[in-house]
């Protein structure tokens, strides 16, 4: 292995999603300016904009928090989590034009790479949990151990590179990595997995036990827990002793109370937003974008570099017609008209996804890599070459919900036109999971709710035994390339590995993709200063101008 220099480390840039790593960090306490990518605050640069304090900020989402113990949450991305908890490193959006991120100090004040397999982190002093207990190296180690050892932890993948954690002194920890890991810092920031790697109060966990902690969470975040009404709302209130300071020199957050509501019906959530009942909604459906844009009391906030990918399609690679028939898989991929799909279901904001999981900001992305643009003749020819000149009957499994139902109908029709006579099976979510797990399918598709922050995360979708590897891709060569990419600091070298990996996926036609819609939020005009960590709402600097 070539020698690893500090410069290499700084250069990491972790190209994916434009993350730039800052090895050296800003002075503490960190002071922030209240500007939002969506709402550039008036006033020349440098002039401290006026903020107003107080009020209750209300947010809504179409899902309910499965637990408030964020390590064990299958959706660790809601703003209640980022308000209750802090991560060691923050994943801040610094340029919303191109989607450039920087890793900034969170509970870790600074970090240094002592050698390729060792990271030393200086922790912020004087940070208190909401229960009054101290945040220190012991607590950080306990948290990192829990993320890796609890089998139900959703932060396991992100912290898997850590072998052991040493407490050097009360405010210094040393992470001993199993192998060099360019993804570990982004992983510790939570990245695309929200607050999964946040720090919880060990004292509270010891006192309450995991079951009660899940309902009475204690973190170091800007908001402390007040009330949970399951299936309705989480109510948080201002934590007076929060460590981060606002533009007015006082501690954050600006608002007194934060309410995260669960509104299952998106059209009702939209009415609530328009009538002022709530201030912000995550991920509005493409059909509502025009309504938001045309309403003078609302602001549309789009993050085009991220967002969910629909029609992420996989084939049964264990048994059935697709398993050993490359030409058949290629026929299926050629037969998908991604443009039409994006147009019909993306309502003007969708765009075709050329490659599965890779977009232009990712390492190794190269449009010279083999691709499968819509071509009915090629699809038919491939089907013939696959040994099915008269066509073939296949099934396509989809979870019964929108927009998947409509996408499934479009896809089935497109495939049938090419000669893959498709039986669309619309299944309730758990039935879909059950059949896919049992390999009782020919093909199936699902959605990827956001873009990976680091290319290493993609392993879960096609690495042998990956948690979301529904096709059960098991290709030792691909695993090796991903392993190499995941343990190489040199960005150029890393990109090479990922390019080869994408090439292999495409040549073998393991996976297909349909279209992507931008991550978006709709908010009321009076809500100012909102920021995101990755693409997830972070309300600590939000304030209400009313």
């Amino acid at each position: 292995m070539r020698t690893f220099s500090r410069r290499d480390f700084l250069k990491l840039g972790v190209g994916t999603a434009g993350v730039t790593l800052l090895a050296a960090c800003a002075p503490t306490p960190q002071t922030s300016t209240p500007s939002s990518p969506a709402q550039p605050t008036a006033g020349a640069a440098g002039a401290a904009p006026k903020v107003k304090r107080g009020g209750t900020l209300v947010h809504s989402q179409s899902w309910t928090y499965p637990t408030l113990d964020v390590h064990l949450s299958s959706i660790p991305t809601g703003p209640a989590y980022s308000s209750l908890y802090d991560t060691l490193i923050r994943h801040e959006l610094v340029d919303d034009k191109v989607g450039r991120y920087e890793l900034k100090p969170g509970l870790a004040e600074s970090w240094e790479q002592a050698d390729p397999k060792t990271i030393v982190m200086k922790l912020r002093k004087g940070v208190k949990f909401h229960d009054g207990s101290d945040f220190n190296a012991e607590v950080a180690r306990w948290n990192l151990d829990r993320m890796r050892s609890d089998k139900k932890s959703f932060a396991r993948d992100q912290t898997a590179a850590i072998d052991t954690v040493d407490v050097v002194d009360p405010y210094t920890i040393k992470l001993n990595l199993k192998a060099p890991s360019p993804a570990i810092l982004a992983g510790l920031s939570g990245g695309s997995n929200g607050s999964a790697t946040a720090m919880l109060s060990k004292a509270a966990m010891d006192k309450l036990g995991p079951d009660k902690f899940a309902l009475n969470p204690v973190g170091t975040g800007p908001m402390k827990f007040k009330q949970l009404i399951p299936d309705d709302r989480v109510v948080l209130e201002r934590f007076e002793d929060y460590w981060m300071k606002g533009a007015d020199g006082k501690t954050l957050p600006y608002v007194d109370q934060f309410v995260s509501r669960y509104i299952p019906d998106p059209s009702v959530a939209m009415v609530e937003l328009r009538s002022g009942g709530i201030h912000i909604i995550d991920n509005i459906p493409p059909k509502d974008v025009e309504t938001v844009k045309s309403d003078p009391s609302l602001v549309y906030w789009e993050m085009p570099w991220a967002g969910p990918t629909y029609f992420f399609v996989g084939f049964n690679l264990k048994s059935g017609p697709f398993a050993t028939n490359l030409k058949l898989r290629q026929a299926a991929l050629y037969a998908i008209d991604r443009e039409s799909m994006a147009k019909a279901i993306g309502f003007g904001i969708g765009r075709p996804a050329l490659y599965p999981l890779w977009n232009s900001s990712h390492l190794g992305y190269d449009e010279s890599i083999v691709k499968y643009p819509f071509d009915l003749d090629k699809a038919k020819q491939s089907l013939k070459d696959a040994g099915y000149p008269n066509g073939i009957d296949v099934n396509l499994l989809v979870i019964a919900r929108e927009p998947e139902n409509t996408i499934g109908q479009m896809a089935a029709e497109m495939w049938s036109k090419a000669g893959l006579r498709t039986k669309l099976e619309t299944l309730e979510r758990l039935s879909w999971i059950d059949r896919m797990r049992k390999f009782d399918f020919d093909s199936g598709f699902w959605r990827i709710s956001t873009q990976p922050v680091d290319d290493d995360e993609k392993r879960r979708y096609f690495g042998t035994g990956g948690a979301s590897n529904w096709s059960s891709v098991a290709d030792p060569e691909l695993d090796k390339l991903m392993e190499q990419g995941g343990t190489t600091y040199d960005v150029k070298q890393r990109a090479e590995y990922y390019k080869k990996a994408l090439t292999l996926i495409q040549e073998k036609a393991y996976l297909g993709s349909g279209f992507q819609v931008p991550e978006n939020k709709a908010l009321r005009k009076e809500m100012k200063g909102s920021k995101v960590q990755f693409t997830y709402l972070d309300i600590r600097e939000s304030w209400l101008d009313s």
Binding site: P66, A214, D231, P264, E272, E428, R429, S431, I433, S468
Partner: protein, 316 residues
């Protein structure tokens, strides 16, 4: 009468037990298990996590053992913990029951308040303009689905007029005024369909009663029509109406599922559906038991009302 009720109560125990067995069987016949629901489509291929969750939830044990363990705990007053929301089942139910109870009560109230006068007016003058309007109202009440009516009401009252909040819930103990504001539209939505059914029943039943000999006698005595209807006909016409209202309560819970979803109310109906989707057996059992008990009690209550309305009905 009290012996009759005692007997009915004892009879309902095997019914409830059977319901728990059927619920248990159905939940386990459905494909997938709570461990898969817990992990979701993003992580359900993670075998290590899957096995760990199954073990923790006791899903690795044979089904009769799982049921036996559950029943053993229930007998001791421990209904377990929800896999989906992590709360103790008793807390989950006690939090949601008042919501659905209030919703159902207000819906029935709305339905009766609207349906009875309209039904009477229609019955007294069958074929009149009032009758036609009432009939149109009734037919549309039955024909319009809850989700459509709910959304329309939200648009009108929350977005255009801004009189009422669009969705959500406030506890009546916290703020009764706000609570009523939140519950008004959901109760109207749920009550509309019921009102239609009840109105039609009042109408037909009253028309029938008004044809009876004793009504003719009352009229022949020279009583005013109002007295004839109110004193003589109405009470008798109400027996089938009470039956219908009693039967509607079961349907009401079905409607509550939809209405609670639209108006984002944390009620029992939505809890039951979410629990089914998650295969959250403990919570589902709790919810179904409560609904079953409610139906049993309401049937009893209907019987009591029969006896009140018709002195010929006696329970021994």
């Amino acid at each position: 009468m009290s012996r009759y009720f005692l007997r009915r109560a004892i009879q309902s125990i095997p019914v409830l037990l059977l319901i728990t067995i059927i619920t248990f069987a159905i939940v386990h016949l459905l494909p997938g298990d709570p461990a898969l629901a817990y992990l979701g489509e993003a992580a359900a291929k993670d075998q290590v996590a899957y096995e760990a969750v199954r073990l923790e939830l006791g899903l690795d044990q044979p089904l009769p053992v799982q049921y036996g363990k559950w029943l053993g705990k229930v007998v001791q007053g421990d209904m377990g913990r929800s896999v989906r929301t992590r709360e103790p089942v008793t807390d989950g139910l006690s939090g949601r029951l008042p919501v659905t109870f209030q919703l159902a009560l207000m819906a029935i109230l709305f339905a009766v308040v609207i349906a009875v006068p309209v039904g009477i007016l229609s019955a007294v003058r069958p074929g009149s303009r009032t009758d036609s309007v009432g009939t149109v109202f009734a037919i549309s009440g039955v024909a319009v689905p809850h989700f459509w009516l709910g959304i329309i009401l939200i648009y009108v009252f929350a977005l255009w007029l801004r009189w009422l909040p669009a969705s959500g819930y406030k506890s009546p103990t916290e703020n009764l005024g706000a609570n009523l504001q939140y519950m008004l539209l959901p109760a109207l939505t749920l009550g509309a369909g019921q009102a239609a059914v009840i109105m039609r029943q009042v109408r037909s039943s009253l028309i029938e009663v008004l044809r009876n000999e004793y009504v003719r006698t009352a009229r022949a005595k020279g009583l005013r029509e109002r007295v004839v209807v109110q004193r003589h006909a109405l009470k008798n016409a109400f027996i089938p109406v009470i039956t219908i209202i009693g039967m509607q309560v079961g349907r009401l819970f079905g409607g509550a599922v939809v209405v609670e979803s639209i108006f984002a109310l944390p009620g029992l109906g939505r809890l039951a559906i979410d629990s089914i989707m998650f295969r959250d057996f403990a919570m589902l059992q709790g919810a179904i038991l409560i609904l079953a008990v409610a139906v049993v009690v309401l049937n009893l209550l209907t019987d009591v009302l029969y006896a009140y309305l018709d002195p010929r009905i006696k329970y021994a």
